[in-house]
Every structure is written in C-alpha cells, then in structure tokens.
Symmetry: C2
Subunit: 551 residues, 2 copies
C-alpha cells in the first residue's frame, strides 16, 4: 500500500490503486473510478496497478517508477543472514518456542504444520485458512502438547511480549483466553486504563468455539492459565460460540480454582454469578469485573460439605407457593444442572408427567392453576405443601428440599408454625433411613410484616432448615450442592501444555509480515525472520513483489 | 381448609380431605390414601369430604360435625350490614376507587365487568380466568381510564396499602409495575431490606406481556408512574414476555423521564444500560439497582443536540478495522435501532447486499476476509477506510460515522495522522452541503503503546471527532443520537388514568376472600365486604359452604 501512496503522490497523478485482482478489490477500484477494462479482466492472483493521471505521459512516467518505488521500502531490524526455511531459522534460534505465521492463507496451514513438526507453538495470524485445516492443525498441536492460536488470530500477549497487533499493557494477575482479536485488545487496554494488569493474553482464533472446532485451543489455554502461578483471575471471551461448546468450556472453567470472568457474545447466562464464574456482557464490563476481582484477596472457595449425604442422594425438590419465585429458581438453576422438571417448566420438554409426582430435579409451583381450583392458595394454606414435603423426604434420591416462605398481608398468619414441624419431621424420616436432607427456605418478607419475620426464620432454623432472604444466595447454595452431587466434570483429554511456553523469555521465528519481526525486536524478544518464498507451485515473481510491498 | 384440619383433629380421625372434586384434587387425595370410590366419582363442582378414621363410628361422628365445625369459622372485622351486591356496596362506600375480586374463576370476569361499569378499578386476584375475558376486561378498563390488575394478580401496594398478598414495606420513591406476583413481593421485600422504599407496586397479571394481551395494563401503569410525583425510579418486571410486546413497552419506558430498572425473565438485553433503562437479571439485582438509583440525586437526562443535523440525516455508518469491535457495536446497537446492516451481521437477514455499499444503518468490518485478500489489514493501512469515509460523507442520509482506532504493536505507527485529515475533509464535505456529520471514534490503546495515545486522541478531536476509550460510552452516544434521529415512539393510544387512583387514601370494595377485607381493614383502609353469591346458575348451597369455609 506504500506503493499505492507513493504512486498517488507523483506529479500529475490523481489517484492510484495497487491490489490483487480479487472481486472485492475490483469493486473498490470501481468505486474510485480506477477499474479499467484490463483491471476488470485480471485474475484474483494478478497484481493490478492502476494510475489515474492528468495526462498519458504522467501515467506512463508513474508506472515506469514502480520498481524504483518498491526499492524505497522501509528497512526493518537489521538481520545479517535471512534463513530461507523454518528449519534453518529454528536451528539459528533454538530457544524459539513460537512461530508467527502471516503468509497468505493458502500457504499458511502448510507453514503452521511445518512449525508444529519442529515442536514449535504457532501464532497463526493468516486468515482465509480452511476450517478443515484449522481442525487438523489444532489436533496435531494438542497431540504434541503445543498450542495453535488462530487462524485469523490478531493478537496475543505472552510473558509481556505482544504478538501480531497488541497493546502495551501493565503486567499483572489477569490472564485472558479469547476467541476474538480486537475484543481481546480492547479488554486488555481497558484493564490497563483501569489500573489492572495482564499475565498473559492468549488468542484462539475466532472459530475456536464453533461446533466444528470444539474449543480445542481454549480448553488448552484455560487449563494452562489455571496452572499458571502468575495468573490469579482468568477472563474467557468469545465471538458467538456454539451453545454446546460454550457449556463444555464453562464446565471446565468451573473446575478451575480461580475466578473466571466470562464474556461470550450472544451467550446469556441466567445470572451474573455462577460459583467462580462471573458473567459480563460487554468488553468494558469484562475489564471492570476482572480488575475488581484481581484486587480482592484470593478467596478460598467454600468447600460444600456433601459427605453428609448418603450414596444415591442427588436430586432437588423445590416446593414453591410463588409462581415467579419458582420460575426464577428454574432459570437460575439452569447454570448448575442440565434439567429441572416442573409443572411450569422453562422448556416444555421438562414438563412433569404429573404435577403430583416429582422426577429427577423438580420444582413444583403449588400455586399453579391446577392446584388452586377449589383450594386455598398455598400461601394461605400449608396442607398440600406439608403432604408433598413428607412424600419427597421418603424418596432416597432426594438430597435437597427448597421452599419459599412468603410473609405479608393476606398470607398465612404464621406459616413457620406449620412448616417447621413438617421440616423437622421430614429430616427425621430421612435421618432414620441414614440420609441427610438439606432443607433450604427463601423467606420473602420484611420486619414490618404481620408475621414477625425474625420468629419465622428462627422456627425454620430450629427445625434444621437453612433460611435466606436472598434468592441469589439461595440458588448459589442449592446450585452448588447439586453441582457437587451431580458432577459434570470436564476432564481434559488433551495432554497438558508445559508452562514454559508462557513463562520462559519469549523467542519466536516469524514467517510472513516483516513488520511483526520488527515489532518483536522492539519489545526485546529474541526473533528471527524467515525469508519465506511460497512453495514451488506459487507464482514466485508475484509473491516476491508482494513480499517487498509488505516490507 | 380449616374444616379439613378441624376434622383431622377430632378423636379417632387419622386424616381428612375437604376439596372440590377436580382431577388434581383427586390425585392429591389418592396420594394420601383418601380417594374412596365415591370421591373418585365426584364431579369437579362437587365438594368432597373424606375422613380416614380408626372406626366407622369415629368417621360417622366426625362427618356429623361438619355443619358445627363450619360455624366455628374465624370471625373477621365486624360489619353490621353486608351488602349483597357490588352496586349497593359502592353506594355505601362511594370513595372506593378499587374493587378486589377473588371469587372463583368462572364468576370473576363477570364481577370485574360489573366493577368497571361502576367506574371502579379492579384488583383481580382470581385465577382460571380466560385469556379472552382478560383482553375484554382490559380494553373496557382502558376505554374508561381504569385499571384492571390481573387476573391472577397476587399482590399490589397502592398508596401504602397492600392488596392481596403484600409485604409491609417502607414508603419511598421506587414505583413498580410487575407481571409477576411473588417476584414483585420479593423485589419489594428486598428493597425494604436494603433500606429503600416503595411509592406504589402495581400488578398486571402474569399474562399481561403476552402477545395476545399486548401489555395493556403495563403501559397504563408505566405511564401513570411516569407522571406520579411520588415515584422517582420505576421498576418494570415480567414473567417471560413476548419479544415484540417487551420491545414496545421498553420503547415506552425510554420515553419516560425517570430511570427504569427492567427485569424481564428470559429477555436478554445486550448491555446492562440503555439510556434510562437499567437491565437486571435477578430479583436481588433488580432491588439493588433500584435502591442505588433511588439514592442518587435525580439527573437531568442529557439532551442530545440533534438540531444540528439537516432534515433527512438519520443513518449510522460504522467503518471498523476490528471484527469483534464491530460485532460488539452491532450487538449493543440492537437496543437502540431495529436493524444494522453489515458484511458480518448478527442476523443473516441484515447482511449487506454488497460489502462495498452501505444501506440504512451499516457497520462494515473492513478487516473481513473479503477485504484482506491481497491487501494489508486496515489496522496497518488506512487507505480503504479513508476512501469509504469520503463515500459515506457524501451520502445526505448519513448522520453519524463510527470508527475504531486500534493502536499498539503491529498496528499503523500513526493512524490519526491519516485518519484525522480524512475526518476533517469528510466533515467539510458534509458542511459544504449544509449538513452536520458526527464522527465518533473509539480508541483502543494504552499510554504505553508506541503511537502516543494522547496525541492520537488530540489529532482526532482537532479534526472534529468525538473520541472515547470505552465502547459502552461510545455506543451510548451513538445509540442515543440514532434513537433521537429515528424516533420509534410509543405514543399511548390509551386514555390516561387519573393519578388520584394512586394518591387518594385507598378505599376498596372486596368481593370474595373475606381475609382480604380483614387485611385491608388492619392496614387502615376503608373497605366493605360484599356478601357475594354466585349468580342464579351457580350451585348456591355448595357456594355457601365454600364461602363459609373461606371465612
């Protein structure tokens, strides 16, 4: 593009275009009135040079200077000898853990494959690489405990050194994994602006969380940052992911003992916090939450005591009097267990066969229309709920009972006086059979309600229930217990990548855009530029001109 | 249900069931081993009384006492004379603005209709009311500037008085509109627990935001709270709404000059803040945000100056170098304008016919694969972007140009040196044609980047651009401008409801559950209970027993 600008600045030249003859580039030429019939006839592989000049003479003069102008290319870092192959470059810089690849897309997979064979991790900047090549490269890399960031990976920061496009940011405890280029740059920049700092920022390529690729690279990188002692808080970002792949990656993130801030574009979690996961919805918010967490003292995650339960105890039974309370519980529990059945389900496929009989995890709305014909509402009358409570307590697979206790005008004048003995009796039934029954109650009410909320809570607690006012806190406990009782672990089947890839001084071989070599050198990284030529099949003269233009 | 408990406590009685003979109730009887063959044969309208006793004698004795037990019903507030009709009750308490209806579902619509004809607002607690009746009632109400909260409206607080089930909460500046019962109770209770207070909490019935009902009541109530001087912050809640209806209601909420906290279950907005709307995802969060806002000094909403634009200027053109930056902009703008076209659209139906030509609101990712074959990435080379900028500036319908300027290693060493003159020239082109061109740039970078971020920002600003580091702030400005230039107003076609319905001392006629009359009286509200009987077609004896049981 320097050539284009140099041409356009010559005397008598009005405008100039220097592009490959692709359809898109022809459209752009056309919009600038530069699409001559010869240019129109060019093939995608042709280099098109068009000059719009005041006179034929000016145009001819300009075109004659192309070779001279190309010679004026900016000279980068001095490098006495330029190896012609990746192999010889690797021999010259044996400490290089990384190979940066930015050759044209059709050659990129080949170069990346060669780098993997040399035992190098790959930063694959090139775009226009096929999905099939991506999958093969990532599988090959994983089998060798190596990483392939990309293709179309715009940015990364490894051990303080930016690869590709990268902002200069403060070092710090936040490690990032992103299937996104400028998104990752913006979050890193915002973290820096907010006073935070980065351990490593790892790209994956924008398609990594697609169904086809299955987040191969993101899983490797997440696991790596989980082990990395310089990372205390992890950020996980992605362009719109496959729902299934996202869920699997989040399951892996749940098993990492560090807080993880998640910003998956277009993936909505039901609540902003699920265990150690913090969901953010914009780049700004992602950076803010990550910085905030990085400044908090590291918290030991509260271990939930699930040893008290007998083998086989695993299910939730929620017995609700409030429809919307039941609904929110269903919604929030989505992030903890795959399915909760109900008479008022989120999804018709989780509808209970009979509202009278629970199955697996169940939340039943006892205020539903089917229960209130010819009956008082369960906020006024506890009979139905008490009967159901006994029924659930007798089920050996039930571990947790969840109740809402709604106080206030119009409601039962003293619900705990009836519910508490029933809870004690239900827990007794379970205990007699050698089981622990966790009863959790969310109490809706105020200190000015007619029922005396303090006494209500006290009665429930004395019966052995855990009582909360907050629905979020309730679901965090219940969801945590269900998660622990129904483990859905993502156990990495991939060989672990050695931490040295992050924590040794970065050294890299660069194949492609020479400016990336300059950039690495400016950041103090050991680097070597390969004087790459396309394989024999390529049009060498054309590639040479392109290479020189890119210089 | 008191009868059931009284029977069960008689000597020799093991258990008892007193229910209407519906299928669901029979199932419940069966689970308690109370479903005799006679009970099985009962019709839905039959009252079923079953006693499980130690002996036939005990059972017979118990059943003989039904009438006597019924006579023991709790006596409520003394009321010398009980009007038999709504009409005479209204005459006795002419100040009553409200009628509470909790008669069985099949009679409820009739009673509500009668109340509306009397010019009363209706709190319709009854469930099992048809959708058709709901729509008719709400239309009738709207035409008379009256409200119908419900059917199946569990709770409301009007001028400090709770209707139906309601917690006793502090008075304060937060007004709520909710298509949700216990959800509204929980948010009100949490607001109180957090030290906040309520002006009014208005229910709508859980189906109000359905496609069929179209949020008739929510629109009325939102508009009412918008005018209510005692309300400074509004909360809008709903069970899963129709997407279209939710969008319309949110458009109305945008036109209210008060902050509105939105918690629509299952409706995800792209960002947490859109103008005066604050999106929350749980009851707890809704309460927290509302309390926080209610304690901030009322802010005048910054008026956006859109008078500078010429008539016809209305569109956005976003020219991005970063793919994910473009994606987030597309995503966040969804909350401001119906559609933004792109070469990388959120939704295929918004794909640009040609990436080279913008249409309506457009965001083009100039780093997309189609632009980078045989070309440098736009983060390195500004040529393509500068050409497109001139092209957009010449379009008389374009009002706002949005750019990302990505700094850092690998990127152009001084992008502003090329972009700023182009911005100045584009603005000049527009100005020469009598137009104002708003150019907004989001700058991705840090103070340690090689480009000198301060000088980059300064160059952009001197060219007349507005520059931000934050994407959220950028979209708030751009979205706000687009909203103002493309008004999508929800202009209420409904006659306004008079504020006196909220702000005069609450007085109500109660038809149905007698405990609601007691509850109103205990809260100091003027109230009168109607000695309601079902119309001639009803089984009067049965209804009488039921009424006495409910007392």
């Amino acid at each position: 593009m320097q050539l284009q600008r140099s041409l356009a600045s010559l005397p008598g030249v009005l405008d100039a275009g220097v592009v490959m003859g692709t359809g898109a580039n022809k459209d752009i030429l056309a919009q600038s009135q530069l699409l001559t019939s010869e240019a129109q006839a060019a093939a995608a592989d042709d280099l098109v040079i068009v000059v719009n000049a005041e006179s034929d003479e000016a145009a001819t003069t300009a075109l004659e200077q192309v070779d001279e102008l190309l010679a004026r290319r900016r000279t980068g870092v001095e490098q006495d000898y330029r190896p012609k192959s990746l192999k010889s470059a690797s021999d010259m810089l044996p400490s290089a853990q990384w190979v940066l690849v930015s050759v044209p897309g059709r050659y990129a997979a080949g170069v990346a494959r060669e780098a993997l064979r040399e035992g190098k991790n790959v930063f694959l900047y090139s775009d226009n690489v096929s999905l099939q090549d991506e999958i093969e490269l990532k599988r090959l890399a994983a089998s060798k405990s190596l990483l392939v960031m990309g293709p179309d990976c715009g940015t990364a920061v490894v051990n303080g050194v930016g690869l590709g496009f990268a902002n200069q940011v403060r070092r710090g405890p936040i490690g990032l994994v992103a299937a996104s280029g400028t998104g990752l740059q913006q979050v890193c920049a915002r973290i820096h602006q907010l006073g935070g700092g980065i351990s490593h920022a790892l790209g994956t390529g924008g398609r990594d969380l697609s169904e086809a690729v299955g987040a191969l690279t993101a899983h490797q990188e997440l696991e790596l940052l989980g082990r990395d002692p310089s990372t205390a808080v992890i950020v996980l970002m992605s362009k719109p992911p496959s729902h299934r792949v996202a869920r699997e990656l989040l399951a892996a993130a749940r098993s990492v003992c560090k807080p993880v801030v998640v910003d998956f574009i277009g993936y909505s979690s039901s609540s902003r916090r699920v265990g150690n996961l913090y969901f953010a919805s914009t780049f700004d918010e992602t950076a803010e939450v990550a910085v905030q967490l990085s400044k908090q003292p590291a918290q030991d995650r509260k271990a939930l005591d699930v040893d008290r339960f007998a083998p086989g105890q695993r299910y939730l039974r929620g017995l609700f009097s409030g429809g919307t309370m039941a609904y929110e519980a269903l919604l929030l529990l989505q992030d903890y267990v795959p399915a909760v059945y109900s008479n008022a389900p989120l999804d018709e496929q989780n509808r209970l066969d009979s509202a009278m009989v629970s199955q697996a995890h169940t939340i039943v709305d006892l205020g539903g229309d089917e229960f209130t014909v010819g009956r008082l509402h369960p906020m006024m009358d506890n009979d139905l709920r008490i009967r159901r409570l006994q029924q659930e307590a007798a089920d050996p697979e039930v571990a947790v009972i969840l109740l809402d206790v709604v106080l206030g005008h119009g409601a039962h004048p003293d619900p705990a006086s009836e519910l508490a003995p029933a809870i004690a009796s239900a827990r007794g039934t379970a205990a007699a059979a050698g089981r622990h029954l966790e009863v959790v109650a969310v109490v809706v009410g105020t200190d000015e309600d007619p029922q005396d909320i303090a006494s209500q809570v006290q009665q429930l607690q004395q019966a052995g229930a855990t009582a909360y006012y907050s629905n979020d806190a309730t679901i965090e406990l219940v969801g945590g217990l269900l998660g622990a009782l129904n483990p859905e672990p993502w156990t990495s089947k991939l060989p672990a990548v050695d931490l040295s890839v992050l924590n040794q001084p970065l050294a890299a071989v660069n194949v492609g855009l020479e400016s990336f070599t300059d950039s690495l050198a400016l950041q103090g990284a050991a680097t070597i530029h390969v004087d790459w030529k396309p394989p024999a099949g390529g049009d060498e003269r054309l590639m040479d001109i392109l290479e020189r233009m890119r210089g």
